[in-house]
Amino acid sequence: MMQGQKSIFSLPGKSVFLVAGILLILAIFPAFHLSGYTLRLMSMIFMWIALASCWNVMSGYTGYIDFGPVVYFGIGAYSTALLMSRGGMPFFLSIVISGVVAVLFAIPVGLPTLRLRGAYFAIATFAFAEAMKQVALEWDRVVGVHFLEGSHGITLPIGPSHQFFYYTFLVIMTVLFLTSYLIERSRMGYALKAIHEAEDAAELSGVNTLKIKVSAYAISAFFTGIIGGVDAYWLTYITPNDVFSIHITIQMVIMCLLGGMGTLLGPVVGASFLTLVSEPLWAKFPYDYLIIIGVIIVVVIVAMPRGIVGTLMERKRRGGGT
């Protein structure tokens, strides 16, 4: 291996063991007869780490701020709900199909919108997400069918134990972490960074920027769709306002931002921190909770715009390199 080169498999030796060790501990956690509450909390943390990672794969790496990722969550949730409750399909097959359905939407949406820059891309994705929510709410009534059930929502078959979802989310989170890691180390990782830093120069250097952007967008959508499907099964009942809610987008964005956009550990740190902090905050200050979150957001943006992990990495980069 030559100097400066990072192979796809190289990682400072101890990190691999650290990560594997943590995963092993998490895997045997439930064996300690933990309460349902703890299992649910852990599952939620895994889910949000996964969602924040999805947003990171797209917006963190490319810098294109997606304000509508929830649309794929909702599409995934509805796909799974319909496949399981109407089609009687098994869970794992349903969620994979849901991921594919999300990609089938993502590509035609991504191709035109990823030509837009900055604010316009953000607004376009937001508009699309809100439009789909309205469609989910109004489709049945306007078209005259009994399909999506509008605001009545759809009920899924009852799911198995907390442990089942714990492991499902753990696996998804791990897969996403691995995917992000592989992307970062691969050709595509360099292309993404180049697009983020100087898109025109990247294009002039031979990078098919549109294809790379759409690929990242589709990957993100795929996983977001799957997570939406799992969540639907977990909740057993979904409505458009729940699964197409802008609050989901907001959390994905904030968690990734807080941890550090465009970093591997950023979503992990951000999602864990915010979920763990939210629980007691929400319990103690149910009325002021959102105000506090708002203040946290403003303070982080002003004081630590690169997020926790990002700020640490930036210090390291500034320090070395001469």
């Binding site: 917006s59 810098g63 701020i65 304000f67 035109p112 919108t113 030509r115 837009l116 820059r117 900055g118 604010a119 316009y120 953000a122 607004i123 376009a124 937001f126 508009a127 699309f128 809100e130 439009a131 309205q134 469609v135 709410l137 109004e138 009534r141 306007v142 802008i246 907001i250 964005v253 904030i254 931002l257 956009m261 009325y287 002021d288 959102l290 105000i291 979150i293 708002g294 203040v295 946290i296 957001i297 403003v298 943006i301 002003v302 715009p305």
Partner: protein
């Protein structure tokens, strides 16, 4: 029937234009997408509400109060918070203003409760009836005020010194930055101005729309649409965009389905962004 729908749409559109102009101004000059925009409308509406309920001041007369208090609020927000992120990547300003949205909307919720409120003035039910159409006086008056306000803003931007300073800063942000302190002051004035206009439209809106702390977000969304249609940063475009959107929504609600009118708004917005981000007249700022 169609004429009534169109006129209603135009009246609605005028008010859309009024509260979107401020959004357009702020984006055009500073490149900031103000997600707390709707909260400025909300605060303007509540200012009028409280002045009416506690002081019996007619909403139209409360306009100076909204204008001044929101100007000050806008100035402060820009000076102390947004100023720090104006030069950072755009996402920072979106998230920052989003945080501000959360703070303001939920503080309002805390202090004023989620109850829906409205202002019932003695004249709010009276209508002008002409050519078989029913035109509420309150809406006609607010339409008139909205046009006056947009015209006034346009005049201010093009004919006065401060207006030209704002335009110059908008056109060459780099130069403005190099000029240091002065640019910050211009930005703060711009934000204050944008907030003031938006606050005034909140007062206008309070005469016939329902008022509650969470109302802001849907106004922000409509402002997006209006401004994209008319062209970001192009004030006369806000008027055009507002009128078009108003008529479109009105026609959709009358002839198709009221529920679909917001879905339509979003699809129109989406299509505009893809095919013509510079707005219908092509004069918008495209990054």
């Amino acid at each position: 029937m169609i004429a009534q729908s169109i006129i209603t749409g135009l009246l609605l559109g005028g008010i859309y234009a009024a509260y979107s102009a401020g959004f357009s101004l702020i984006f055009g000059v500073m490149g900031v997408v103000n997600i707390a925009h709707g909260e400025l409308v909300m605060l303007g509406a509540f200012t009028s509400y409280w002045l009416y309920t506690l002081g019996h001041i007619d909403p139209f007369l409360s306009i100076p109060f909204s204008a001044v208090s929101l100007f000050i609020l806008g100035y402060m927000i820009q000076r102390f918070i947004i100023n720090r992120v104006v030069d950072a990547p755009p996402i920072m300003s979106y998230i920052c203003t989003f945080g501000i949205h959360l703070i303001i909307a939920n503080l309002a919720l805390r202090f004023w409760t989620a109850d829906y409120r409205s202002i019932t003035t003695p004249y709010c039910g009276s209508n002008l009836e002409c050519a078989g159409m029913v035109l509420p006086y309150a809406r006609l008056a607010t339409f008139g005020m909205a046009i006056l306000m947009i015209g006034g803003l346009y005049f201010l931007l093009t004919k006065t010194d401060i207006g030209r300073a704002i335009q110059a800063t908008a056109q060459d942000r780099e130069m403005a930055r190099l000029m240091g302190v002065k640019a910050n002051h211009v930005y703060a004035i711009t934000f204050g101005l944008g907030a003031a206009i938006t606050g005034v439209s909140g007062s206008l809106v309070s005469t016939y729309f329902v008022i509650y702390p969470q109302m802001g977000l849907s106004y922000t969304v409509t402002a997006f649409c209006v401004v994209v249609l008319g062209g970001m940063g192009y004030i006369p475009g806000a008027l055009l965009g507002g009128l078009i959107l108003g008529v479109l929504e009105s026609l959709t609600a009358t002839f198709w389905d009221a529920g679909m009118s917001s879905a339509l708004t979003f699809f129109v917005l989406f299509l505009m962004l893809i095919f013509r981000p510079a707005g219908i007249m092509g004069k918008g700022v495209v990054e």
